[in-house]
């Protein structure tokens, strides 16, 4: 075995510019008293991941409403299926008026969205995102869903970039590095982070462990790992031990703030 001295190795290794801010998990401090308090420090110009898949289940609807009411602007939104529920009813119970990410474009607060599904098949009526895009008020960055979630996962997992076969030979591939592995062409895709993640879970314990239910996981667990600050809306906050250790969907280390919904909230 050869010996390696630091001197020869350092030539390929820059100093680590990693974020060394130690993030505490002192349980009591994670619980916010209200949705408005939980989002109060989000500044204009922030990038914000919004969890769920699209539709009511798994969407942090109360946090979104609080963010809208905060009135800040120039936001970049990162979502998945975005802004189509209001015009199509997608993923919402029939008896409720859908609420979706289009609200930030209706209000003019958001100027950009990165997502996989920003418009429905029909254009009558126009969705808020398409309206803003047509009027030149919003940049819409459309990413294949698998690439989008993998980029978010990568940001949380310390992977700055990876190769994927998805999107090769399409407009998605424009300007991207191509590389063949085992005779198949792939694209280089980069990690996607954000200043904040607003996510939704069924339960949190006071330490910040989260439990999800059914298909409400979707983008929530990965976004929790990828944003600098993760804020979660839950139906219920329970004590330590109130979540089965086998069913923790997001580790407490990733969670910064928890807000509990009011009992009997009519919104899903």
């Amino acid at each position: 075995m050869q010996l390696y001295s630091a001197k020869t190795l350092r030539s390929v290794c820059d100093a680590r510019p990693k974020d060394r801010t130690i993030r505490l998990v002192v349980p009591i401090n994670k619980i916010s008293n209200s949705f408005s308090e939980a989002v109060a420090d989000i500044p204009s110009g922030a990038s914000i991941m919004i969890g769920g898949f699209g539709g009511a289940g798994g969407q942090p609807t109360r946090l979104m409403l609080a963010l809208r009411d905060l009135g800040i602007g120039d936001l970049t939104i990162i979502g998945n299926v975005a802004g189509i529920s209001k015009t199509t009813g997608y993923g919402w119970p029939d008896d409720l008026d859908p609420i979706d990410q289009g609200m930030f474009f209706e209000s003019g607060q958001a100027t950009k969205i990165t997502c996989s599904f920003p418009v429905p098949g029909t254009t009558n009526p126009l969705s808020e995102i398409e309206k803003a895009w047509r009027e030149g008020n919003a940049e819409v960055d459309i990413v294949p869903q698998g690439t989008l979630i993998e980029r978010i996962r990568a940001a949380g997992a310390g992977i700055p970039a990876f190769y994927t076969p998805t999107g090769v030979g399409t407009s998605v591939a424009e300007g991207k590095e191509h590389r063949d592995f085992d005779g198949r062409t792939h694209l280089l895709e980069h990690a996607l982070t954000a200043d904040f993640a607003l996510i939704r879970a069924q339960k949190a314990d006071t330490r910040g462990n989260l439990q999800y239910i059914g298909t409400s996981r979707a983008f929530n667990p990965a976004m929790a790992t990828a944003a600098r600050t993760t804020i979660v809306e839950v139906d219920e906050i329970v004590g330590i031990g109130g979540i089965d250790s086998e069913r923790v969907g997001t580790l407490s280390t990733y969670v910064d703030r928890i807000v509990q919904r009011e009992t009997g909230d009519y919104l899903p």
């Binding site: 898949f53 997608y90 294949p144 869903q145 399409t170 996981r217 979707a218 983008f219």
Partner: protein, 232 residues
Amino acid sequence: MSSKPEITGNEPAPRLNRAAIAKRAARDLVDGSTVNLGIGIPAMCADFLPDGVELLYHAENGILGFKELSAPGEGDPNLMDAGGKFPKLVPGMAFFDSVESFSLIRGGHIDVTVLGALQVSRSGDLANWVVPKRGIGSIGGAMDLAANAKKVVIAMEHNAHGDIAKIVEECTFPLTAPGCVDEIITDIAVIEIDRENGLMVLREVAPGWTFDDVQARTEARLEAADKIDQMA
């Protein structure tokens, strides 16, 4: 832009309806395979499975093993499919997040996906996410599915409104994935794509239709199979 094939005279016989397209597509689905069905005609395949065939349905938002939907007005927002509908909770289902859902797709673990299309080219290129004149569209899971499922089947109407060809020599719409389609099932034909040789082989026609009838409504050059069967 899409060209209009020259069609002389009336249609030789009625076209299949959407349910019949789905039924024909369902006939090729192999018992026990893991399947992802797109919205529209593809989703209808689930209603027409042959006896004894059971499929494991995957939805991008994180379910494997769902079956029928809840009645309208019922259902749980936390148990949605990728089309925004609410399936019933059945035993054997599995829930997972989007990372795992797309690992399954991108990793090549989906046996078959049935999708709709705007255009399919002779070499199997698929365009199904954006209409150029609108300028904005939704990719969703389509690019991952088209590029990575083991088998890609297109179930669609053969022509767009105004008899516009959707099966073309080369796609003029932005692609979802190049060279990905294995088979096309329409209201007048079943076409297999021999991608290695860049050939479209007509295998079946709707009752009362001939090779020439189908070719007249298809921009791409078709080859005739040794034996052309009747769709059923």
